[in-house]
């Protein structure tokens, strides 16, 4: 195995520049944020939604998915070698985690006045709880209540 295999050039793909990785990560990050907003809007997960209005939610998700993609694919010619699959998966995983954390945090700030139902039996399990409250508030329940 090449001793430089896991060096910086490997993680920057065949393009070999960190600016390429930065633009790629921005593209992946915003696309995932866009999808999360689409999901939140479509399935009424208010606790992770950025917008009170459905139209704005859909509009934001379309913009968040298409604009970074356009930016990325017009900035780089992807008909050449770009990534090995493991490198691509690595960056996608990192961006996914950050996009999720970012979505949860922004929505938590926006919906800071969202409260949980007072009755224990009214608290839904799984992601259905995000219809009632924010993710971070739901997570805080783990130490207090048993989920259904």
């Amino acid at each position: 195995m090449d001793i430089f295999r896991f060096g910086a050039w490997y993680w920057t793909g065949y393009v070999g520049t960190w600016s390429f990785i930065a633009v790629y990560c921005a593209y992946v990050f915003f696309s995932i944020i866009g999808v999360m907003q689409f999901v939140a809007t479509k399935w009424n997960l208010k606790g992770i939604s950025f917008f009170p209005n459905k139209k704005w939610g859909y509009a934001f998700s379309v913009i968040a998915i298409t604009c970074p993609a356009t930016w990325f694919f017009t900035s780089y010619d992807c008909t050449g070698l770009t990534f090995d699959a493991p490198v691509q998966l690595f960056w996608i995983a990192i961006c996914t985690i950050f996009a999720f954390l970012c979505t949860f945090t922004i929505a938590h700030i926006i919906h800071r006045d969202m409260r949980l139902p007072k009755k224990k039996n009214d608290v839904p399990g799984g992601i259905d709880i995000l219809k009632e409250t924010t993710y971070w508030r739901a997570i805080s329940l783990l130490s207090k209540r048993k989920p259904q």
């Binding site: 993609a69 008909t79 691509q88």
Partner: protein, 198 residues
């Protein structure tokens, strides 16, 4: 018989490849579809959306199992393609046929079967087992990617057919593996539900 198959394969390849280079917009679209980033990203976003989709918890759980099956099937198809590549080294069209100016980068691995097509068919079939409607929809990107691989001149149509059958086998294996390890997917979904992510 095999010679006849290869001659048909070559003829179909030349016909599809012959479509390229005439309309710049379609060439650009095919280059976009066939590259290693665009369509995999779209599939990834669809799988994320699937994970959270549906109002009903039971329907959502079926989608989540479909995501597991699609991912596992994708992984298995990659392994099968690697094995096929080792066992049968088929040169790429641009290595054999004259005057093939590909629209995409050259690879030095075997042409048969198409890895990218196998992955997309595997995802579509993996989802199809659990969610027929969405599975049919996901066949559209799989067919588009398959067509674009031939259009840009890096695969023969037979490589795509091989990829289709590879995906079929890998999906069946993935489905059986998920059945065999059954408590595990359920436990993972339950764990994700506990932390409000499923």
């Amino acid at each position: 018989m095999i010679d006849f198959l290869y001659s048909v394969d070559k003829a179909v390849f030349l016909w599809i490849y012959g479509l390229s280079g005439h309309v710049p917009f379609i060439d650009g679209l095919m280059k976009l579809i066939t590259n290693d980033i665009f369509m995999p990203m779209i599939i990834f976003l669809i799988l994320i959306a699937m994970w959270f989709a549906s109002h009903d918890q039971k329907a959502r759980e079926i989608n989540q199992r479909a995501v597991f099956c699609a991912l596992l099937s994708m992984g298995i198809s990659n392994v099968i393609v690697k094995i096929c590549n080792i066992l049968y080294d088929r040169p790429r069209p641009y290595d054999v046929l004259p005057n093939i100016q590909t629209l995409f980068h050259h690879s030095d691995d075997s042409s048969f079967p198409s890895n990218m097509a196998a992955v997309f068919f595997a995802v579509a079939m993996g989802v199809w087992i659990y969610n027929r409607k969405l599975g049919w929809w996901l066949l559209i990107p799989a067919v588009l990617v398959s067509f674009s691989r031939v259009y840009v001149g890096i695969h023969y149509p037979l490589d795509i057919v091989g990829a289709f059958f590879t995906a079929m086998v890998s999906t069946v294996i993935a489905f059986l593996v998920l059945k065999v390890i059954e408590p595990l997917p359920t436990k993972v979904i339950k764990l994700m539900r506990k932390i409000y992510l499923a």
